[in-house]
């Protein structure tokens, strides 16, 4: 068993796997930059569904995604073996040193365990996420991603100060929805950055623009990028288009692992590096 852990958890393998993951992601980033629309369509859907429907038809641009998952799987196994090896070596010595010293020595292993948790959380997000979206209009009755029925009561846009250079741009939008809670109708506001949880699904807002006729605008592929500020420029939109708010409902089991994990890993990492003087004295301990 120990021999097996020594081989699988070898730090040299960890080093080269990290570089391999970095190289694959860099290659992927070039494809993602080259075809924003294709890879943006992967956001909000399960990776296996997307790969079956879109990924395979564009395999020349998407081949690196299975490679990335494979490399991360190997890295996860290597990290687990390395951590187990180190904890097995450290645990019998716990009474031979002060508790704080032992905690410092154990910290890298805890960080690595949390890293494995992050990898698992992301895998869960990528493979088990459910997301549905619908346009918002007053009076609409919606049922998205298992939220149960809710009614859109009102839609309101707040704008930046008219005297500023941001005049005519939307600063915040508020959609009031009526949901049934315990047999009682409750009105709750959904805003940008202020999502609402309804029956375990997260409700958020998104904005697109449409032609005044209501038809969607077909974007020139060369103009498609992550900058969506034009969707919120009201005066410009009103010339020929109108803003269209969407409600997006998301169920993501990975979030329950990721969000607490993020906080914990930063706290433990910060404490550990503080204890070793941020590498000033070269007092770092073996990882894993």
């Amino acid at each position: 068993m120990k021999r097996l852990l020594d081989v699988i958890g070898d730090l040299r393998i960890a080093f080269w796997l990290l570089l391999a993951v970095a190289a694959i992601m860099w290659i992927g980033s070039l494809f993602a930059a080259n075809d924003y629309a294709l890879f943006n369509s992967l956001n909000g859907v399960r990776v296996q569904d997307w790969f079956a429907s879109k990924g395979l038809t564009a395999i020349g641009s998407t081949w690196w995604i299975p490679g990335l998952f494979f490399a991360f799987t190997l890295l996860g196994v290597n990290t687990a073996a390395c951590t187990a090896r180190r904890v097995m070596a450290l645990w019998p010595r716990r009474r031979e040193m002060p508790a704080k010293r032992f905690a410092v020595l154990l910290s890298p292993s805890i960080i690595h365990l949390l890293f494995i948790g992050m990898l698992s959380g992301h895998l869960l997000s990528f493979t088990a996420l459910t997301q549905e979206r619908a346009p918002v209009s007053e009076g609409a009755v919606l049922n998205l991603a298992g939220t149960g029925e809710f009614t859109v009561k009102s839609v309101r846009h707040d704008f930046f100060d008219g005297a500023s250079l941001l005049a005519d741009r939307i600063r915040q939008s508020t959609v009031e929805i009526a949901v049934m809670k315990g047999g009682v109708e409750t009105t709750v506001p959904v805003k940008f950055l202020r999502s609402v949880s309804v029956n375990g699904a997260l409700l958020q807002l998104d904005m697109e623009k449409k032609k005044k006729s209501g038809k969607p605008i077909v974007q020139n592929p060369a103009d498609e990028n992550c900058n969506k500020e034009h969707n919120y420029h009201y005066a410009k939109l009103l010339e020929e288009t109108r803003p269209q708010l969407f409600i997006v409902a998301t169920r993501d089991p990975g979030l329950f692992v990721l969000i607490p994990g993020f906080v914990l890993v930063i706290l433990v990492m910060g404490w550990y590096f503080y204890q070793i003087g941020f590498g000033r004295d070269g007092k770092t301990q073996p990882n894993g």
Binding site: L18, L19, A33, L166, C226, N227, V265, T284
Partner: protein, 247 residues
């Protein structure tokens, strides 16, 4: 005179600091670099009012924040780290990044509602200062190779950079969760950010691989300059084409 004159002044002071360093006037070089940092800080703060109202996002635009972060790190290193290193020599890369900032569109990309959060500000602050540490580490590692005086004086810079960059990954993920309900977006920006993190996570493991000596580690740290540049300048150049206001 616009507020951008402050950036020109800061860049000039960084250049002067490097010239003084070359002339062997270490104390004067450091004093001028501190002046550049003070002027640059004033510029970053004033960017918050670039639209005619207070929008903190203006202060945290990565291209302008990067040389500021480098200047801050050099000042802290000079004050609190070993005195044997000519930290002010970093005024050279500092000036080069300030030059790039001078050539860059200086307005603010109009913020969408999802960008008006402190999480976005903390993300850009920690990302830029983390990258600043990586660039400086690369500079001092390369200086050691060129002068044939290999040392590990850059190591703590990479550790600090890694911690700051990890905080950026986490705050960025929380921001993405609040704004878009997912902690990771499939796109070049997120992927390249993860590339940088993985590269320096691998570096931290080098200390425990006996076959990697001080010279090899210096080469690896120096190559970090190219890795960070290749994985951040793509988005900087891409964003040059975005509409901006107040520039």
């Amino acid at each position: 005179m616009t507020i951008h004159a402050l950036l020109y002044a800061a860049a000039a002071l960084y250049a002067a600091a490097f010239i003084l360093h070359l002339a062997g006037k270490g104390r004067s070089s450091f004093a001028v670099l501190c002046s550049g940092f003070a002027v640059h800080t004033a510029y970053q703060v004033s960017r918050a009012w670039i639209t005619g109202m207070f929008i903190p996002n203006g202060m945290f635009d990565g291209v302008f924040l990067l040389p500021w972060g480098m200047a801050l790190a050099v000042v802290l290193l000079r004050l609190f780290s070993d005195r044997g290193t000519a930290w002010e020599s970093a005024a050279a890369p500092l000036f080069l990044f300030a030059l790039f900032a001078l050539a860059y569109p200086k307005g603010l990309i109009p913020p969408t509602p999802n960008k008006l959060t402190v999480w976005a500000n903390v993300f850009f602050l920690t990302e830029a200062t983390g990258q600043a540490c990586f660039y400086l580490a690369a500079w001092f590692a390369a200086a050691g190779i060129v002068t044939k005086r290999i040392s590990t004086n850059y190591h703590s810079l990479i550790v600090w950079g890694f911690v700051l960059y990890s905080i950026a990954q986490v705050t960025g993920a929380i921001w993405a969760y609040l704004g878009w309900a997912t902690t990771f977006r499939w796109g070049s920006r997120h992927l390249q950010s993860a590339v940088i993190w993985c590269y320096f996570a691998a570096y931290l493991h080098l200390r425990f691989l006996p076959s990697w000596g001080a010279r090899e580690k210096s080469w690896y740290a120096s190559a970090g300059f190219v890795v960070v540049a290749m994985n951040s300048f793509g988005s900087h150049l891409n964003e040059m084409g975005f509409p901006r206001i107040g520039g």
